[in-house]
Amino acid sequence: MSSKKGKKKSSDEEKKEEFIRIDGRKPDEMRPYKIRAHILRNADGSAEIRLGGNWIIAAVYGPKEHFPKFEISQDKAILNCRYHMTPYSTTERKSPKPSRREIELSKVIKNALEQAVVLEEFPEMSIDVYMEVAQAEGSTRVASVTAAAVALADAGIPMRDLVVGCSAGKVNGHIILDVGEEEDKEGEADLPIAIMPNLRKVVLLQMDGKLTHEEFKEAFDLALKGAMELYEEQVRALTSILKDMEVIEEGVKDEKE
């Protein structure tokens, strides 16, 4: 029996290695990504992310006075988030009117970013975050969070940590990283998460479809791995602004030693 089991397991592992996704990626491979900070002139802070076919622009205004006045909070600032898909972001024209889905995503993204921003520094004020999906190809919510965090840092708004998101999912019984559009539609499950990597906190966790306990753990770990990869890209995007300003780091090597 035991030998049979072992045989079965090894064939399973082979299958896992052989599994190639619809766009030719390995199960634990991200789509190509690129983040750029400070891309807009007029906004206080801005960023852009390209994750495969996704192209999202995030912009930040504020802190500024909040309207209407009855909503203001005496002890902290209000974070307004707007996630919006442009009419030309999908293959079929999307109505520019905010849909039920977009309102929900604005809310979950707001909840995620609120944990990171030091809102207590600006009582009675509000900070606006706009995320415009210019082109969509699956996992836009986590890509939006990632771009929005970079835009907030670019605007000079104090944050306890950056927020970075990544998604995992299940397709044909295989757990996969960074769910694409077809995989999202045809797959069995998807699991977008957003984390604060240094504070080790999960700030966004949603799941669509069904996963067993073990599968969930595997998918979660995979998404964490992807998020850490994107976090490095966020840091690179932000530090490259300063490196363009000819900042020369001193004494960093000594510290590492």
Binding site: G156, R160, M196, L199, I241, L242, E246, I248, E250
Partner: protein, 262 residues
């Protein structure tokens, strides 16, 4: 002590132990240690640690000289936009000096209209509500333009760049004022006023943009001196030093000659 420069992003743990005599702004302390909250450069030295931010929201303190734009009227004064997170309030009594302000007789827009540029000092910073503004002049601010400002060119920069524009003990601004003829006024909210010929304004703008783009670079004064065609303060010091050395040499040679003669 060895200088330590390092680029940080929000959430970077600068040091696990908090053991500094002086900790600058822009840090939070939690279980991770000392954590940066803004993108910038962390500098360490003389027992203190500071974060020089790439961009920051202007937070005025009492006594700051700022330049604002009138954006609205209140029953007893003006609302000014000073480029901070909230607006400033200038009481009408500040503009009318010889008698009491009478809302029935005095038309606010005759003194200051919406769109006018005003130089004010911050008199009051509260946690909630608008900042208080005043026009009262103390003996120290002779060179500050308080009240309505007319006929000036305006250049805006982020407040984090002002220390570089002014320089160490005012070295950079002194260098700029040496070459550029005209009236230059720097306000603490990042507004720079200039009155003078248009060509000089363009030159000033070019220099300020250069400083803003290279805020963190070292040897900036020399670069600006090169553009202006003025010997930089450092070079001047070096020249003097070399002169002294030469003189010393000469003296030595003289002595040698004298000794040889003897």
């Amino acid at each position: 002590m060895k200088s330590n420069k390092r680029i940080v992003v929000p959430g970077t743990t600068v040091d696990k132990n908090v053991r500094y005599n002086r900790i600058g702004e822009y840090f939070v302390r939690d279980y991770r240690g000392l954590v940066a909250t803004l993108l910038g450069v962390v500098q360490q030295g003389r027992g203190g640690i500071d974060l020089i931010p790439y961009k920051d929201v202007y937070r005025p303190s009492r006594g700051d000289y700022v330049i604002g734009v009138v954006v609205g009227y209140a029953p007893n004064g003006w609302i000014l936009d000073i480029g901070s997170y909230t607006k400033a309030f200038l009481p009408a009594s500040e503009m009318i000096s010889n008698r009491r302000f009478d809302p029935r007789r005095d038309e606010l827009s005759k003194y200051l209209a919406v769109g006018d540029v005003v130089g004010v000092k911050i008199s009051d910073v509260r946690r909630l509500g608008y900042f208080g503004a005043t026009l009262r002049q103390s003996p120290e601010d002779k060179d500050k333009r308080l009240g309505k400002i007319r006929g000036y060119y305006i250049i805006k920069v982020t407040t984090t760049k002002l220390p570089r524009i002014i320089g160490k003990k005012g070295s950079m601004i002194r260098l700029i004022k040496q070459k550029i003829k005209g009236d230059i006024v720097i306000a603490q909210n990042g507004v720079i006023l200039f009155k003078g010929p248009y060509e000089e304004y363009l030159l000033l703008k070019k220099i300020i943009n250069l400083i803003a783009a290279k805020t963190f670079a070292s040897g900036l004064t020399d670069t600006v001196a090169g553009i202006l065609g003025v010997p930089s303060p450092r070079e001047a010091v070096a020249k003097e030093a070399s002169k002294e050395v030469k003189e010393e040499k000469m003296e030595n040679e003289d002595k040698e000659v004298n000794s040889n003669e003897q």
